[in-house]
Amino acid sequence: MKNLKKFFKQTIVIVSIEIAVAIFLCVIIFLFVVVPNFNSWRSNSSSREETAQRLERVERNLQSVASIDAEKIKVLSEQLQKLLSDQADPLRFLNLLEVVAKSSGMELSAAQVTTQSQPSVAPSAPTGAAAPQTPVSDGASSPAQSGASAVAVPNQSVKISFSGSFSNLLRLLTNVDKADMVSLIKSVSVSKTQGESGVSLAVTFDLITATAAGTANAETLTAFTFEDESAIGNILSNIEFTSSPAKNSVGRSNPFD
């Protein structure tokens, strides 16, 4: 015991203990204060920078959207959406195409509605001759197909046959883009009418539906420039042909007559 006391009174022992304690404290401070706070500071710093950048983007976007005339956009949007139906509407399209064909000097001779999910039941002749299996008149689809078209089926195709002259055919294909329902021409088949100078035209159209309106991201810049407005103006000014359902009186004593 006496030796032990004597041992601890020695300078070198005291100094060694002091140094050991200091190192221990330094290690403790380093491990439990310096390192975690440094990491946390760096993490907070990068998070703050990221948040500040997001804030800047949102503020810029807010300013941009605030400068947009909401009423004007609403009107333009509604006008454009009319050209792209929410759901494929082959009956309206057929009605419209009849109007377009008449204006172009062509006659709509047959039509067939198919959906892309089903294989087409009307094989197109290699010569492109209009040989639809379910001819209709007065803009009505066939009974077999009308059931399918009554259900909202996206991406419907309509195959329509026309007859007329070649120059009117070109006019018709140009006028299709002037109708107030946008359709994509998938294929065109032209054939000479037997014994006449005219042509038969079979065109397959895809009815274009509007893409579902999404939500705008607060951080993605939304701008509506003069060019955008001008592009919409060009589209709307191109529309010449519109259609609406007939408004005949209804109720007949003999509906089979």
Partner: protein, 183 residues
């Protein structure tokens, strides 16, 4: 090596006995000062980092608060922004469709421009925008050659494949496959 209690290896201590306590005190003093200083430095560094971390945390909280506030404002104009985006998407969609549709008319016009006298088309099919198949009735072999040459010279057609030429009673029937530029 007094520290380990090895009495047989005593060093030669040349310091006079009177100066030993003074020297020990100095050593102890410097060791204490150095230890305290080292710990102090670590404490100061730690304290600075704690402060920086705290300040950065507060800034982060403030910035996040501002962002939340702006996002709240965004909700009021989000409908307009969504309408702008859908309107622009619709514009692009319509223009794309029209551009594609115009290619069919252009193809027909180009074909019309190369058909010579003595040849008449019996059928023409366009599928997939830029693939054409045409059948023509031609009065003579010379006109067949002229028609095919005209098609090949026309820059709108990328490839012209003469699929078949059949001689009938008074004319030739030829089938040609064409690929257009697609623009």
């Amino acid at each position: 090596m007094l520290f380990f209690g090895k009495k047989d290896q005593k060093g030669i201590d040349l310091i006079p006995e009177g100066e030993k306590p003074l020297k020990d005190t100095k050593i102890k003093f410097f060791a204490t000062v150095a230890s305290v200083a080292a710990v102090g430095v670590f404490i100061v560094v730690g304290a600075i980092l704690v402060f920086l971390n705290f300040a950065e945390g507060r800034l982060l909280a403030q910035t996040s608060e501002q962002l939340d506030s702006r996002l709240g404002e965004w909700q009021q104009v989000a409908t307009t922004a969504a309408q702008v985006n859908s309107t622009k998407a619709a514009t692009t969609q319509i223009n794309d469709v029209w551009t594609s549709n115009q290619l069919f008319t252009k193809s027909l016009r180009e074909v019309r421009s190369v058909v010579p006298k003595g040849a008449s088309l019996t059928s023409l099919s366009i599928a997939g925008v830029n693939t054409l198949t045409l059948q023509a009735e031609v009065s003579s072999a010379a006109v067949v050659e002229q028609l095919v040459n005209n098609l090949r010279k026309n820059e709108f057609f990328v490839s012209v494949d003469l699929d078949s030429v059949v001689r009938s009673s008074d004319s030739y029937v030829l089938n040609v496959g064409l690929t257009t530029r697609g623009k």
